[in-house]
């Protein structure tokens, strides 16, 4: 029961372990318009999406490659009419299927079909703990009540339920209310994840960044609740790393455990990787998943830690956080090979703190997530 230690590598592929998780971004279509969406600002269109057969092939290849868990995500994955078929494929392949949904467009009957097809787990997003905040953040009227009703259906089918909340300036004062909501809805788990500033969230950083004092107050509330609710509700907390001293072990290492496939079939080491210029991503339309994982240039660009600066090479945390996030390094330092500027040993550490403090004091409005108009 020790920490995951991977053993047994394919003989033909020395050095690189097989992936454990696949984030399947089935579509970028979504009824919500959350301003912190992790999708890229340039969304992929329906006409570019993979077919059902494409995804089924990818899921089978994933299982053969060693993937154990599949996160069916988006956009809103239920915007795809073939979602049940894809869940069934996961079940056939013994892949643990996790549906990551906004919960506003799945009828009770469809949810029952998904459960029958073998869905293992539902992760439901809440943008606010009250109808007003959920509507303000998601841009969808009536969203909150739909989500509550959906959660009740999930419980009625005895599917395990996790609530996922992205925390930011407009809802960070609701931490206790989110915990109460999770208990009221009978969820087993609650994820309170501070916004990570990529994609739309980066675009909206000055509208989302909370002041440091509010972040600290929220963390204290979470810690109290974790102790109080042990055994009743598991609360996972993702800290806002701009205010941190140590970087997150982004993706648990680049190309080390998980991969991401976009709606049009691009294989990415993380969902924000397309921001890094010069990386060559391979498409699942032309390559197998094994090729993408083991041989595509983007996956091999930052594998391991050899590319990191000397400070990291001497650091006892090198093999714990892998120098943090490549995208964040690029954003702040201009060089994706630098250590994550969140790290207190980074020469840019003060810059990212200054950015956070400045953004938290701005009075910016949300730029809601939407598809660009043609020709825009």
């Amino acid at each position: 029961m020790s920490d995951p230690t991977l053993t047994g590598k394919p003989a033909s592929e020395p050095r690189i372990d097989p992936p454990m998780g696949l984030l399947a971004e089935l579509t970028h279509r979504c009824p919500l318009q959350c301003p912190y969406c992790s999708n890229p600002v340039e969304l992929e269109r329906r006409s570019d999406e993979l077919t059902t057969a494409d995804w089924q092939r990818i899921l089978c290849e994933a299982a053969a490659l060693g993937v154990l868990q599949v996160h069916l995500s988006g956009g809103e994955p239920a915007a795809r009419r073939d979602l049940t078929e894809l869940v069934a494929t996961c079940a056939e392949q013994q892949l643990y299927s996790n549906l990551i949904t906004a919960g506003v467009n799945i009828s009770p009957q469809r949810l029952a079909e998904l459960a029958d097809a073998g869905l293992d787990h539902v992760q439901l997003s809440f943008q606010g703990a009250t109808p007003e905040v959920t509507e303000q953040v998601s841009g969808l009227r009536g969203a909150h009540d739909k989500k509550r009703a959906f959660a009740a259906e999930v419980r009625a089918l005895e599917l395990p339920l996790t609530l996922n909340v992205v925390l930011h300036r407009a809802n960070i004062d609701q931490v206790d209310d989110f915990i109460a909501l999770a208990l009221a809805l009978g969820a087993e788990r609650l994820e309170l994840a501070h916004a990570q500033y990529y994609g739309w969230a980066l675009h909206n950083r000055s509208a989302l960044m909370p002041p440091r004092a509010e972040v600290m107050a929220a963390l204290a509330k979470v810690e109290q609740a974790q102790a109080r609710l042990k055994g009743r509700l598991a609360i996972d907390s993702v800290v806002p790393d701009y205010y941190a001293r140590r970087p997150k072990p982004c993706m648990n290492g680049w190309g080390r455990q998980t991969l991401n496939v976009t709606p049009s079939g691009l294989g990415l080491p993380c969902h924000a990787a397309q921001r890094i210029p010069g990386l060559e991503f391979w498409s699942l339309r032309e390559h197998t998943l094994a090729d993408v994982w083991y041989r595509s240039p983007a996956f091999n660009a930052f594998r391991g830690t050899d590319f990191l600066p000397d400070t990291c090479q001497r650091c006892e945390r090198r093999d714990i956080d892998f120098g943090g996030c490549r995208c964040q390094a690029l954003m702040v330092t201009g060089d994706a090979r630098q250590m994550d500027p969140v790290c207190e040993f980074s020469p840019w550490h003060d810059d990212i703190q200054t950015l956070a403090i400045a953004d938290s004091a701005r009075d910016a409005a949300f730029a809601y997530r939407r598809f660009a108009r043609r020709g825009e």
Binding site: P4, L68, P160, E188, R189
Partner: protein
């Protein structure tokens, strides 16, 4: 969920937690929401006996008989494993 484990405690995998063989890494795993636990040989042998019906004592007896091993040692291992997995939310008392 009870905090105390006794000989009569019956446990099971909660909904959303599955045990399966992991061919790529030549082992067994527990799959849970957002988490994967790689099982060592002892944990796998114990969990194979978790069926939501047999008590902790009965599982210990069966393992002791099957492996021809010292009962007190098996009891210790089973107890420790159940406690650890319950604390992580991937095992529940019936």
């Amino acid at each position: 969920m009870s905090d105390t484990l006794t000989d009569s405690t019956v446990v099971r995998l909660p909904r959303g937690v599955r045990m399966r063989h992991d061919a790529a890494r030549e082992g067994w795993v527990l799959l849970a929401p957002e988490r994967i636990f790689q099982l060592d040989a002892i944990a796998h042998a114990v969990l194979e006996n978790v069926d939501g019906e047999r008590s902790l004592a009965r599982i210990v007896d069966d393992l002791a008989a099957h492996y021809n091993a010292e009962r007190s040692r098996i009891h210790h291992d089973v107890h420790a494993l159940f406690r650890a997995l319950i604390e992580r939310g991937v095992l529940e008392t019936v």
